[in-house]
């Protein structure tokens, strides 16, 4: 029986495309209504004043010190958090990728477990641990290591510490995903060819794990830029991150235009970081889909 091959196949393909579109539609509609439109509205807000076009909200970035201070502090905290989570997360991910299966499951579970507690609860937990008469200070004083309580919280230190705690999984998981895909034969080959463990690590394993390093760094950096609850609760007013600048402008000054302009600048810097990082690693790898 002679059957045309192209006809039914093309029809089938079209039907599949329509189905895919149909399945995507609800999610797409939600994203457009709840994210894209509000963002456009936000951008619109920042350049409108009294029914006309204005750049006054953006001029404040150059004139108002608090803007510069806040952005600098936010980026500094983001850099510190990114570097420290990388230093803490790399050995954990390495151990998980090298360990026998049941051990790696255990290690990853320990990393992900705090995920299940809310950020708010964890911020208060840190507050209890780190405050003047908290667990850490009283333990150190009981051991006679310090005479007076250390300032561990209500400052940048406390903020950074808690942020690292919250974001560590975002570093470990992409690192682990990348490391797990490095064939063991490559490091075995490296050592059989005469490379010492350090040589094989620096020449073979580390370069091959770089996509995970960059993915983890971008995720953690970008997430830190928008952190709000943690610095608000643990910063003690001494830490003034960009998200707090936005909230002050709305809660205290009712300056929607100013708040919008800050959000737009923050958003653009995130886009810029993503753009630069995708030059190093394809977007799909940062999102862990490849």
């Amino acid at each position: 029986m002679a059957v045309s091959h192209t006809g039914p196949e093309i029809l089938h393909e079209r039907r599949e495309q329509r189905l895919t579109l149909l399945l995507l539609a609800p999610a797409l509609a939600i994203v457009i209504c709840l994210l894209v439109l509000p963002l456009l509205w936000l951008a619109w807000q920042s350049i409108r004043a009294d029914g006309g076009f204005t750049l006054v909200n953006y001029q404040r970035f150059l004139t108002d010190d608090i803007y510069l201070i806040s952005f600098l502090q936010t980026f500094r905290i983001a850099i510190i958090v990114t570097v420290v989570t990388l230093l803490l997360g790399y050995p954990v991910a390495y151990a998980a990728s090298m360990a026998p299966r049941h051990w790696s499951v255990l290690i990853l579970a320990a990393v992900v477990l705090p995920f299940w507690t809310s950020v708010l609860v964890r911020a208060y937990a840190w507050l209890i641990l780190l405050q003047r008469r908290g667990l850490v200070n009283s333990a150190l004083m009981d051991m006679g290591l310090i005479d007076s309580p250390l300032l561990l919280v209500n400052n940048e230190f406390g903020t950074v510490l808690a942020t690292i705690h919250i974001l560590l999984p975002f570093m470990v998981l992409p690192l682990y995903a990348t490391m797990q895909k490095i064939p063991r034969e490559l490091t075995m080959a490296g050592s059989s060819l005469g490379g010492s463990p350090v040589f094989v690590f620096t020449r073979v394993f580390l370069p091959l794990s770089m996509p995970g390093v960059i993915a983890g760094m971008v995720l953690v950096f970008v997430l830190t830029l928008g952190f709000y609850i943690t610095p608000e609760l643990l910063g003690g007013g001494r830490t003034f991150m960009v998200s707090m600048l936005v909230s002050r402008n709305i809660e205290i000054y009712h300056e929607w235009g100013a708040a919008s302009s800050i959000s737009v600048v923050l958003l653009l810097s995130v886009f810029l970081i993503f753009r630069l990082s995708t030059k190093l690693v394809p977007f799909e790898r940062i999102m862990g889909t490849r």
Partner: protein
């Protein structure tokens, strides 16, 4: 252009190597002596322990007991990077983030060979595997055969005293595999290196090796020249693994006779003792009688069960009168067809005492 020169090759001596995991014996008291410059294959089905054996030689697996010597040096507990063994891995294990030249010079960098010598050595290694001018290529730009050659060049550039190959040709297609077999063999002669070659492909092992070690259940069942393995298997496992011999249970009657049912068979080789013995018959050893034959050959009476035309030969399946089935081959020419019988017809086949092999059960 400098030629890769190998240092004096050394032998390998594995003495009573055993590796156990919890309740599983992966390697059971394995001993192997490889002469300097020899090409020895380790042949076995998957799960026979050959991967563990390779791991122990390469230093990736610590033996539970036993020792490994490279020449006179005990390397049982030496880490892989201090063993001076070039390994060609099954999937080549080329570094994807380096080009061909960086892959091949990796051992030189790792071993702190002065950079001034790199260019010459690289040139020599590339020429040896016929990849001159490919240094700047990326790994993903190479074909399977080319990757294989890069892996070889990389394992040889530091002039190791021993080369281990773990199924190096298994990922290549049949034609390329046969070409590479010849090339590897030539390379072995050219380098005069000691090579241990792990494979599950018996034809590959038989064509390339000076000697082949057959592994089964963590033990070396037999280590011998390809000819002897084929003609004089040590036990029923080797007999059925090499050349797919048919095994028929026999009973020992004397030092040179055994009984297949009520037929007494003579052998020129001593018949082993033991209760479970088998006659190992390769189809090419059976000859169809034309009525005139020597009195000293073993005669088997049978009925033709089926015939199968296979181009250059005709395969004949027969049922022995004493029970059991065998197959033999007749050339598809005039003399072959003259001896061919139709299914159901009786047939007399001969087995020369030189070809009568009785093996104990493995």
């Amino acid at each position: 252009m400098s030629k890769l020169s190998f240092r004096e090759p050394v032998g390998v001596s594995v003495r009573s190597a055993t590796k156990s995991y919890d309740d599983f014996l992966a390697l059971d008291n394995v001993s192997l002596e490889v002469a300097p410059g020899e090409f020895v294959s380790i042949l076995g089905p998957s799960g026979s322990g050959k991967t563990t054996f390779l791991g122990i030689l390469g230093g990736f697996v610590q033996p539970t007991s036993g020792s490994i010597h490279l020449g006179t040096v005990d390397i049982t507990y030496a880490p892989p990077h201090k063993r001076d063994i070039g390994i060609v891995f099954q999937n080549y294990a080329l570094f994807p983030h380096m080009n061909v030249a960086d892959n091949i010079t990796f051992p030189l960098r790792a071993r702190h060979v002065p950079k001034s010598q790199w260019a010459d050595k690289l040139e020599g290694a590339l020429a040896m595997v016929e990849l001159s001018g490919y240094g700047q290529r990326q790994i993903h730009e190479l074909s399977g055969g080319q990757r294989q050659r890069v892996a070889l060049a990389r394992a040889m550039i530091f002039e190791p005293r021993l080369i281990l190959m773990d199924e190096p040709l298994s990922a290549l297609d049949k034609q390329l595999r046969e070409t590479m077999q010849i090339e590897l063999k030539q390379l072995h002669h050219k380098l005069d290196a000691t090579i241990i070659y792990v494979t599950h492909d018996q034809r590959e092992a038989l064509t390339m090796s000076d000697r082949v070690a057959i592994m089964n259940k963590g033990r070396i069942a037999q280590i011998d020249t390809p000819e002897r393995l084929h003609d004089w298997p040590a036990d029923s496992f080797v007999a059925s693994f090499i050349g797919e011999a048919t095994l028929l249970p026999v009973v020992r009657k004397s030092a040179d006779t055994a009984a297949l049912g009520d037929t007494l068979l003579r052998s020129t080789q001593p018949v082993p003792t033991g209760d479970k013995l088998f006659l190992a018959v390769h189809s090419e050893k059976l000859i169809v009688s034309d009525g005139n034959h020597d009195t000293n050959v073993n005669v088997l009476h049978a009925t033709v069960k089926d015939t199968l035309y296979q181009g250059e030969s005709i395969r004949v399946f027969i049922t022995l009168d004493t029970g059991g089935e065998l197959s033999l081959r007749l050339p598809s020419n005039h003399s072959g067809r003259r001896l061919l019988k139709q299914p159901g017809e009786p047939i007399t086949v001969l087995l020369h005492p030189d070809d009568t092999v009785v093996v104990p059960q493995a």
